[in-house]
Amino acid sequence: MTQPMIGLVDCNNFYVSCERVFQPRLEGVPVGIMSNNDGCVIARSSELKALGVEMGTPAFHLQQWVSQGRICLLSSNYELYGDMSARVREVLEEFSAGVEPYSIDEMFVRFDGFDDATTLALARILYRNVRQFTGIPVCVGVAPSRTLAKLANRAAKKRPEYGGVCVLAGDDDDTRHLLKQTELGDVWGVGRRLVERLAIQGIETAWDLRCADPKTVRRRFSVTLERTARELQGTPCIEMNDSDEPRQRIMTSRSFGRLTGELSELQAAIRQHAQRGAEKLRAQQSHARAVLVFLKTNRHRQDLAQYSPSIVAELPEPSDDSRPILAAAQQALEAIYRPGYRFMKAGVMLLDLVDANREQLSLLDTPGRAADRERSERLMKTLDELNQKMGRGTVRLGVPRQNAAWHLRCAHRTPRWTTQWGELPSAKA
């Protein structure tokens, strides 16, 4: 049988893995990556997780371990991470035309028209090639739907017996076995509150939800959950931008009606995506630390020059304010835009989200900044309310003014090994 399959390739501890490619001495060492804007842990190696260090821990809490040499903290090097992410995507694109980045370190890949054995063999090749070509270790999960692919990926990561690659046919014993062992909270798009309501109905595992009658699920809960139930049965019905659970990243992108090389059109699209992303951010009460902007030419038009760049810009501080997000996105676009290419798609991804309510006060906080923040919150609330009442896009922000310099606190940032001639790694002869 050759049902269409979708693969999820997820990079292991991505930021730390990027650092380790160029610093082999970090292998096996507990490593944490710190945000430059507020000095909190935004990524951890497995060894650091094992020490019980949580995401969002402020650097100064860990200072003692650092001075004892027990752990290594590095400032985030988004330029490196952006480049390595683009490389991973390129390796996948050699294999499939259907590659969709879901975040900086996760990509969906279409596996269409192969039998099960071939799918498994190809998934293993992807696993090996990404690791060898880029140095980034990944796990690969493949299944008939995105929700199942997510679960397959999770199994590939957590269970050594899979060797990093898990293919679920969707209707076999393996799938059933895995779904029975999977708690609902670990299913893509099922939030904590929903888990409690489902438990009352006796639906506790992914298998229970799969077996529930989709129409009843829709009536008692929502269309979204009905889709999840169908996805667990192996029927693909969730597109990437669909699900509305609070997420760790927010992506807004769209294909242009026709190919365009006009900077002004790209700017308009990026502006729209950035604002829409910021709205989603506020709706789920998160702040973003960084903004990724990407452009794509049409791969199927080999007669046209191909250029699909992406870039990450870090925000001055974690924020849900449309203005700095828009400013960062526009600057990022200008940095990657080149004339002479006709782009098919543009998008904005908001990265490294942090809960707005739990956010640590930065050491740089002063009463003035707190007042600024409050003003910004009021402004954004008004903006969202107007757009809700009067229709999306009623109030939009103009092109942001160019702004003053911001000094990043990136004292421990590693060199930008792959993107700056002056910072190449050295090899001893």
Binding site: R87, S310, E314, T419
Partner: protein
């Protein structure tokens, strides 16, 4: 509002080609295309020549003189391709005891060695080392002071 720092994150900016001299761009009087037309607008791109697989290609700077015998000098830039499987005779970037080194991979007898291109350094038997291949060197860029 403050500017956030912009990070250039893509490895392959659009090719910066060398324009060929545009000699004759019009067709001959007879209406037959001029042979020179083939060359119009064509450019040479060093990326195309040196970077066979962009996703797997990394640049590194050489430090030290142990590889001078094979034409790799201190300060040169290595073009390293991780997608190539290492074979005897290749110049490798390898991780040895946590250090990144460049050596030639050779079989002496039937045993693998990392060899230098300089008589002052003896071949190192791979079996004695904690050794991993990082990538294969495809070319070396040596720039002269001008």
């Amino acid at each position: 509002m403050r500017a956030s720092e912009i990070f250039q994150a893509h490895p392959t900016p659009p090719a910066q080609g060398l324009p060929h001299p545009q000699t004759a761009i019009r067709a001959g009087i007879s209406g037959f295309p001029s042979p020179a037309e083939d060359y119009v607008g064509r450019t040479l791109d060093l990326n195309q020549r040196l970077v066979k697989r962009p996703s797997a290609t990394f640049f590194m700077t050489v430090t030290g003189d142990s590889m001078e015998g094979v034409g790799i000098q201190d300060g040169d830039t290595l073009v390293v391709d991780r997608s190539v499987d290492a074979k005897p005779g290749h110049i490798l970037v390898a991780l040895v005891d946590g250090e990144v080194i460049v050596k030639r991979y050779e079989l002496l007898g039937k045993r693998p060695y990392l060899c230098s291109g300089n008589d002052r350094y003896a071949p190192i038997p791979v079996s004695d080392l904690d050794c991993q291949v990082w990538g294969v060197v495809r070319s070396v860029i040596h720039e002269f002071p001008v």
